[in-house]
Symmetry: C2
Subunit: 389 residues, 2 copies
Amino acid sequence: MLRKEYLMTPGPTPIPPQVSLTEAEPMIHHRTPAYTEEFVRLLEGLKKVLLTEKDVLVFAASGTGAMEAAVANCFSPGDRVMVAVGGKFGKRFAELGSAYGLEVIAYEYPWDERANPEVIADHLRKDPDIKGVFLTHSETSTGVVNDVRAVGEVVKESKAILIVDSISGAGALEMRTDQWGVDVLVIGSQKAFMTPPGLAAVAVSPKAWELVERSSSPRYYFDFRKARKKIMEKEPQTPFTPAISLVRAMSVAVEMILQEGLENVWERHRILAECCRAAVRALGLELFPKDLTGAYAVTAVKVPDGLDGRELVRHMNRRHGVILAGGQDQLKGKIFRIGHVGYYNFFDLVVALSALELSLKELGMDISLGAGLAAAEERYLEMTERAKN
Amino acid sequence: MLRKEYLMTPGPTPIPPQVSLTEAEPMIHHRTPAYTEEFVRLLEGLKKVLLTEKDVLVFAASGTGAMEAAVANCFSPGDRVMVAVGGKFGKRFAELGSAYGLEVIAYEYPWDERANPEVIADHLRKDPDIKGVFLTHSETSTGVVNDVRAVGEVVKESKAILIVDSISGAGALEMRTDQWGVDVLVIGSQKAFMTPPGLAAVAVSPKAWELVERSSSPRYYFDFRKARKKIMEKEPQTPFTPAISLVRAMSVAVEMILQEGLENVWERHRILAECCRAAVRALGLELFPKDLTGAYAVTAVKVPDGLDGRELVRHMNRRHGVILAGGQDQLKGKIFRIGHVGYYNFFDLVVALSALELSLKELGMDISLGAGLAAAEERYLEMTERAKN
């Protein structure tokens, strides 16, 4: 069969044609009014998507760069911070804290559950020296989505700031940066923002800026102060050469999100997630997360007994061109993940589910072909019918 | 839901990314060795795909232009020709013949059947003055595919030449131009050849060239003699400005067909057609053609009672972004057509079938969601499993 590739991973995600075409436009110089205009359009668009009035700073880096920037800018060696760890990306925040000499208190919660805001509240009450709380909004490695609003309420009461990795969240899932009390929000270009990897951004609150001014951690490329100084100028710029084509591409993608409407985008992701889950369950498979509240970015599925998860992912790629993600770290071989965050619609899901059905059958599982698709279609009609009324 | 468009019509068909990228390359001048090299590559590639050693002439025109060229070049006013008419495109050959003052004997056969080679043989025996027989290979308007080989055997015995419109055939379906005795084969860029519309080609046999030399019909732009003279030069060219970007794009597309392998391409179309039919039948719908032999380019389906065919096509487009073709001429509103000729794989079909299931349900038909998809998947596994063994 003619091979086409279907990227159904939770990042990178498919790029809309209009974004690709923008990226392919002739290079312009960045120290020009033309670039400034596009850069400012991106910053203003991002504020609307992230629902924030805060300073938004953009870096030529992938998401981890901006996570590191948050650590290096807000804290000094020896500062005590609390990191909620319930997956690979929670762990990364803890590793970054250690790398910068912070005293990291890891709040380990089960990978198939959400972090408990009460536990965080307890810690903050008992230990008023905690300077920051790190939380993963959408834990890409497990599909679990944390209750940022509830954690925000808790952290707001303390002296600590709340740093949220929303790399596979904002732009696809509800994220009210200011209203929910997020002090540093970290995003990347390559998931909900439908742009190739290489661009990251942070939104920084006044409460966080106080820490930024006091931090003694080493930083240069990711220095928030340098970046803010440059966007405050009459012709906003970045201190170092920006990723020009990505900035212009992401600006188009952000415009697409705003055109579709934030609430419509959130609802689309909810519909895709619900349809995906209906299909997975109809095929007799089990979802990995116990708590699926708001978990609309990634569907993590337990590999059924008797099947090798890595073989399933390999088979779907080689034979059908559908690229899913396997499990990471302790979940390697135990789960597979269908990403539906970004430029996806129902028929993208249909392709992934058809390839999944074919693959399960080909690998010897006793499933009923079409059962998953039927369930997805039923759920889709239900959910979109309701929307029409 | 986020709208994406799925072109499932029998032309134009989806363009592979590598073809689109070639089309977007900077313009070159055509009276240069660089252009000649690409033009010659296209001509050589086309000969391989069409299985011909004949002269291949390329025109900046859509398919009808090359159909007209065949009429104008091979016949003179008053010449008697026979046209097999079993659909809109058979009719077009008859109209072209009349426009050029030919005496057209229309052999009308039912639109849901194939032309009968015996009838053609009878006519040729009874009327040795018939100078040409026009046949549609794949009748895009009905999905029926004629037995070119059998008609070729019949015409070979006579003084007449055989002109075949293979615009939705060759490049996707088996077409052995030389072996089957086709004297003038007509193709276009926008179906099996996975290129935007605007380029057409003919392959012309020595038997046809004799008529070309004698024809007194008016022609200039489409003059086969001018075109042949130009490709015979040391640096092959076209007499008039060629569609440069389309020539280069189609050259890439032809290379893709040859890379996949002609027989693999034919088999892929057979698989897609069979899977599509299995799905349509499982949904309780009826196929339009009575004779489905070799009919692998288009699946024409009868609109079920109580449904408005035009409304179904409109609904699938508006609500699901899936673009099917309706019926043409006397079949308007009575059939709809799913095109799967060109850059299609199984998952393109899956999307079209899912949209069809959703639409039938939404328009009030009592169908079982997923039933068509299950049947398509079953057939797909059967057919590709067999291929593996």
